[in-house]
C-alpha cells in the first residue's frame, strides 16, 4: 500500500534533481545562488560650488576586476557636463562646468556584485619608482638598512619591514634614519621608501570599506606584493589588514579619490548598502537574455509586479511542510491547520513583534468578549460576526491612537487575516471549555511558534532567491509532504501517551 506513494515521492525527487542538474550544468546557474557573492549599492554624493569660472571635479569610481562586477551605473551631473575616463590607476568620473550660486549636487550610483574571483590570479606588478618626494641620499640610506633583507622571500621581507616600523629602528644606524625620515615625511612615505629599497612592489590605495554605512572620507591603506597577491597594511605600517576582502580600492597610485580644481566640494559622502536584491537583478539579467528552454520558462520572465508575490508564494509550502511534521510526526497541536501559515504571511505587514502581540492581544480580548457574548445567547454565525466587528473596531482605534502618538507600526496591520483570528478565538474558547486553559495555551504557543518559524522561512531572501531560480524545488517539498502523508509510525507524543506500554513491568 505504501509503494505507490513512495514511488511518486521518489519520482518527484528525481525530477527535481534532473531539473536542477540541467540548470546548473546545462545553463550554468549558480549552485548556491544566494551565497556565491554579495551585492552592494554604492552611492557617492557631493556638493560642488564654482569659484567663479569653470570647475573640474574628478572622482575615482569603482572599476571591474575579477570577482567584481559593476552594473546599473547612474551619474547625476545637474548642469555640469560629465565624462568618464579610464586610466591605469582606475576609473574617474569627471564633472566640468560652472555651477550656479548655490552649487550643484553631483552623484554616482552603481550596483557592485562581488563573486568568487575564481582561479584568476592578479598579475605580478613591476617595481615602481621611489616615492617622488624622497631624495637620492635618503634612498641610499634606506637601501643600506634593507640590504640584508634582499635574500629573504617576499612575505618574510614584508614582515621584517613591518617589525622595523614598529620598533622605529632600535639600533643606532636605523634609529638615525627613522628619526630623520619621520621628521620630514609621513609614515606611509617612509614605509613605501623602505619597501622600494627592499625591492618589494608596494602602493598606496584609496578606497572605501564595503560594509553597510556612510563615510565622508575615503580610506587610505598600503598594499605590498607578497609574490602571490597584494597584502593590505595599515597606513602606518604597524599592522596587516585582516579584512582586506571587504575593502574596495578606488585609486591605486596615491591619486586622490576626489580632486577639484576651480571650486570647492562639500558634503562628500559614500553610502554603501548591502543588498540581496542585487542578486535578483544579476540573475534576472542573466536569465532574461537567454533563449534556452528553461530560461524562457523561468519565473524571471513574469512581469516584475507579479514576481514579488511569487517569491513569497513559493515558500508557503515549506510552512505547510513544517505543520505536517509538527502534527503528524511530533504530534503537537496547532489551531486550525494552516492558521499559523496565514499568521506568518500577515507578519510580513506588521513585523514580527507587533504581529505576535496582535495574536496574543486578539486572543485575549476575543476570549473575554466571547465569554461575555456567551451570556447574550447569540447564534453561532452572528456571534462570530460580532467578534469580527469587535476585533476590527479595536484595530481601528489602535490605528487612530497610533497616528496620534506617531506609532507607525500599529497602523500597519495590512491584510491581516482577521477572519482567521476570529475563528481562532472560537476554537480557543472551545478548547478552554473542553480541555482546560492549559491545553488551550499550549496550542496557542504551538501556533505562535509555527507562525514565527514560518515567518523566518518566508522572509529569508536566500530561500526566496533559491526557490525563485529553482522553482522545481517545490516538487521535492511535495515529495516530502507525500512521504509524511504515508508515515504510519508512531508520533513522538505517543511515546508519552502510551508510556505504560514501554514500562518493562
Amino acid at each position: 500500500m505504501k509503494r505507490p506513494a513512495v514511488l511518486l515521492a521518489l519520482g518527484l525527487l528525481i525530477l527535481t534533481a534532473v531539473l536542477l542538474l540541467y540548470r546548473i550544468i546545462g545553463l550554468g546557474y549558480p549552485v548556491l545562488p544566494a551565497s556565491t557573492g554579495q551585492a552592494f549599492h554604492f552611492k557617492f554624493d557631493g556638493h560642488i560650488k564654482s569659484d567663479g569660472g569653470d570647475t573640474t571635479l574628478s572622482v575615482a569610481l569603482p572599476s571591474e576586476r575579477p570577482g567584481l562586477i559593476i552594473s546599473e551605473e547612474y551619474f547625476g551631473s545637474g548642469s555640469l557636463s560629465f565624462n568618464l575616463f579610464r586610466k591605469e590607476s582606475g576609473r574617474y568620473g569627471v564633472w566640468i562646468g560652472q555651477t550656479g550660486r548655490d552649487g550643484e549636487i553631483v552623484s554616482y550610483r552603481a550596483m557592485i556584485l562581488m563573486r568568487s574571483p575564481g582561479t584568476a590570479k592578479p598579475k605580478s606588478p613591476v617595481l615602481e619608482k621611489y616615492p617622488p618626494l624622497t631624495n637620492k641620499d635618503e634612498q641610499t640610506a634606506a637601501e643600506k638598512i634593507t640590504e640584508r633583507l634582499k635574500l629573504l622571500p617576499l612575505p618574510e621581507r614584508i614582515e621584517t619591514i613591518l617589525k622595523l616600523m614598529e620598533d622605529s629602528g632600535s639600533r643606532p644606524p636605523e634609529l638615525t634614519f627613522f628619526k630623520f625620515m619621520e621628521g620630514r615625511y609621513s609614515q606611509s612615505t617612509l614605509l613605501l621608501t623602505l619597501f622600494r629599497a627592499a625591492l618589494i612592489p608596494a602602493r598606496v590605495v584609496d578606497g572605501v570599506r564595503l560594509t553597510e554605512g556612510i563615510v565622508t572620507k575615503p580610506l587610505t591603506w598600503i598594499e605590498a606584493w607578497n609574490g602571490q597577491t597584494w597584502e593590505g597594511l595599515s597606513i602606518d605600517g604597524k599592522e596587516t589588514l585582516k579584512d582586506q576582502a571587504t575593502l574596495l580600492a578606488l585609486t591605486v597610485d596615491g591619486t586622490p579619490v576626489v580632486h577639484v580644481a576651480g571650486g570647492k566640494i562639500n558634503d562628500t559622502r559614500w553610502d554603501i548598502n548591502r543588498q540581496i536584491v542585487g542578486q535578483w537583478r544579476h540573475n534576472y539579467e542573466h536569465i532574461s537574455r537567454s533563449e534556452r528552454f528553461l530560461d524562457r520558462w523561468s519565473l524571471f520572465r513574469l512581469p516584475t509586479e507579479f514576481q514579488q508575490t511569487f517569491r513569497i508564494l513559493l515558500l508557503v509550502p515549506i510552512g505547510a511542510l513544517l505543520i505536517c511534521i509538527l502534527r503528524n510526526i511530533i504530534g503537537f497541536p496547532t489551531f486550525g491547520i494552516f492558521m499559523p501559515v496565514l499568521m506568518a504571511l500577515s507578519f510580513r505587514n506588521t513585523g514580527l513583534i507587533y504581529g505576535l502581540s496582535i495574536f496574543a492581544g486578539v486572543i485575549l480580548v476575543g476570549y473575554a468578549a466571547r465569554r461575555f457574548l456567551d451570556r447574550l445567547r447569540l447564534l453561532l454565525v452572528p456571534r462570530m460576526s460580532v467578534l469580527l466587528t469587535l476585533v476590527i473596531v479595536c484595530f481601528t482605534l489602535l490605528a487612530l491612537f497610533g497616528n496620534k502618538f506617531g506609532l507607525r507600526q500599529v497602523m500597519a496591520v495590512g491584510l491581516l487575516p482577521f477572519v482567521i483570528l476570529v475563528m481562532t478565538i472560537e476554537r480557543f474558547f472551545v478548547v478552554v471549555e473542553e480541555h482546560g486553559i492549559r491545553t488551550a495555551l499550549q496550542t496557542s504557543a504551538g501556533s505562535a511558534a509555527v507562525a514565527f518559524i514560518t515567518y523566518l522561512i518566508i522572509s529569508s531572501e536566500t530561500l526566496q532567491l533559491t526557490f525563485f531560480i529553482y522553482p522545481e524545488l517545490l516538487l521535492s517539498i511535495g515529495a516530502l509532504q507525500i512521504l509524511i502523508g504515508r508515515y504510519t509510525g508512531y508520533r513522538l507524543s505517543e511515546l508519552f501517551r502510551f508510556r505504560e506500554f514501554r514500562d518493562p513491568s
Binding site: R377, L380, Y490, L495, F498, R502
Partner: protein, 313 residues
C-alpha cells in the same frame, strides 16, 4: 533512544494515530458511509431495520421555525435528552431527569429553563457542536436509566461500553465510567475512567484514568476490575451487527445498559479513539493483525466472528 522507544511500542502491538488513520480508517471506512454513523437519526433508523434497540426518538428538530413548538413537543415528556444529531465527544448533550411545568432539572441537578433549552437547541442547529461545523439537527430522545451493575463505580451520569469492531470482529472493549472530573460524562479525555473488558468473559480487567492505570474509582473508592458486564453476549452481537449494518470496517460501537430495556445502542463512531488500549493494557495493532491472519471461514456469519474473537483475542 527514541528508536528504542518506538520499537517497544511496536513490540507491544500499540496502534498509533497515523497508522489508524492511514491503514484502517482510510482503507475500511469509505467516506460515503460516514453519514450513517455521524448522523444519529440515520443510525437509529438503520438500527431499527436490524432490530437493534436504541434510545426512543421523541422529536427531531430540523429548523429554527419548529422551535416555537418546543413547549408543546416537551409537554408529555417527563425526562429526556437533548443532543445534536451529528455531535462528537459528548458535547452539546443535556440530560433532563425531572421537570415541573416550565423548569427542568438536569441529571447533575442543575436548574434550566425552557428558554435555556431553546437557546441550546438553536446552538445545535447552527452547527456549533457538529463534527464539521455544518448546520445540524437536534434530537430529543428518551433518557437512559443506567443498570445498577456499575453504580458502585460511577459518579452520576451513564456509563457506557465501547467495543471496537474490525471487519465485523469485536477486537477490544472497555466500559467508560463517569467521574466527578468528567462531570458525569463518559468521555475519557474529560476524565472518565476506562476499564478494559476481557472479550471472552465480559469481565473488567485493568482501568485507566487520565492516562494512568488505576484499580479503584477515585470518587466512590470501589474496585473497578473484576466486574462482570451483564448481557455481554447480546452486546457483542449488537457490536458485530454494526459492521453489517453500516458497511464500515473499523468502527467504535457505544452501548449503554438500560435498567428496563437492557443493552441499547447509543452511537457509532467511525474514528474511535486509541485510549482503549490503555484501558486494556493491550495493543490494538496486534489484535487487528490477528484478525487479518484469521481463516476466511470465520467471516461468514456474525456468530462465527464472535466465537472466534472470544476464543482468540
Amino acid at each position: 533512544m527514541i528508536g528504542q522507544a518506538f520499537q517497544q511500542l511496536k513490540e507491544a502491538g500499540v496502534l498509533g494515530i497515523n497508522n489508524r488513520n492511514a491503514e484502517y480508517i482510510m482503507r475500511y471506512n469509505p467516506r460515503s458511509l460516514y453519514p450513517l454513523v455521524d448522523n444519529k437519526v440515520l443510525t437509529k433508523r438503520l438500527a431499527k431495520q436490524y432490530g437493534i434497540p436504541t434510545p426512543v426518538l421523541f422529536h427531531v428538530i430540523e429548523n429554527y421555525g419548529s422551535m416555537k413548538n418546543l413547549k408543546t413537543m416537551l409537554e408529555d415528556i417527563k425526562e429526556f435528552v437533548v443532543k445534536p444529531a451529528s455531535g462528537s465527544g459528548g458535547s452539546g448533550i443535556i440530560l433532563i431527569a425531572e421537570r415541573t411545568r416550565n423548569v427542568f432539572l438536569t441529571q447533575s441537578k442543575k436548574v434550566v429553563t425552557l428558554e435555556y433549552l431553546s437557546y441550546h437547541i438553536s446552538d445545535i442547529l447552527s452547527g456549533i457542536f457538529s463534527l464539521q461545523g455544518h448546520e445540524d439537527h437536534a434530537i430529543i430522545e428518551s433518557l437512559i436509566h443506567p443498570d445498577q451493575v456499575f453504580s458502585a463505580v460511577t459518579y452520576q451520569g451513564v456509563p457506557d461500553v465501547r467495543i471496537i469492531v474490525y471487519r465485523g470482529v469485536p477486537v477490544m472493549a472497555m466500559v467508560r465510567l463517569p467521574t466527578k472530573d468528567s462531570d458525569g460524562k463518559a468521555n475519557l479525555h474529560r476524565g472518565a475512567i476506562g476499564a478494559g473488558i476481557e472479550l471472552g468473559t465480559g469481565q473488567t480487567i485493568t482501568a485507566v484514568h487520565k492516562s494512568k492505570i488505576v484499580t479503584h474509582h477515585p470518587d466512590t473508592g470501589n474496585p473497578v476490575s473484576g466486574l462482570q458486564v451483564p448481557h455481554w453476549d447480546t452486546m457483542l452481537s449488537i457490536a458485530t451487527l454494526a459492521t453489517d449494518m453500516t458497511g464500515l470496517g473499523y468502527i467504535g460501537v457505544d452501548i449503554v445498559i438500560d435498567r428496563d430495556r437492557g443493552p441499547v445502542l447509543l452511537e457509532l463512531n467511525a474514528r474511535p479513539g486509541l485510549a482503549i488500549q490503555m484501558a486494556n493494557k493491550s495493543g490494538l495493532l496486534k489484535r487487528l493483525e490477528d484478525v487479518d491472519a484469521a481463516p476466511d471461514g470465520i467471516f461468514t456469519t456474525p456468530e462465527k466472528r464472535i466465537a472466534w474473537a472470544k476464543e482468540n483475542l
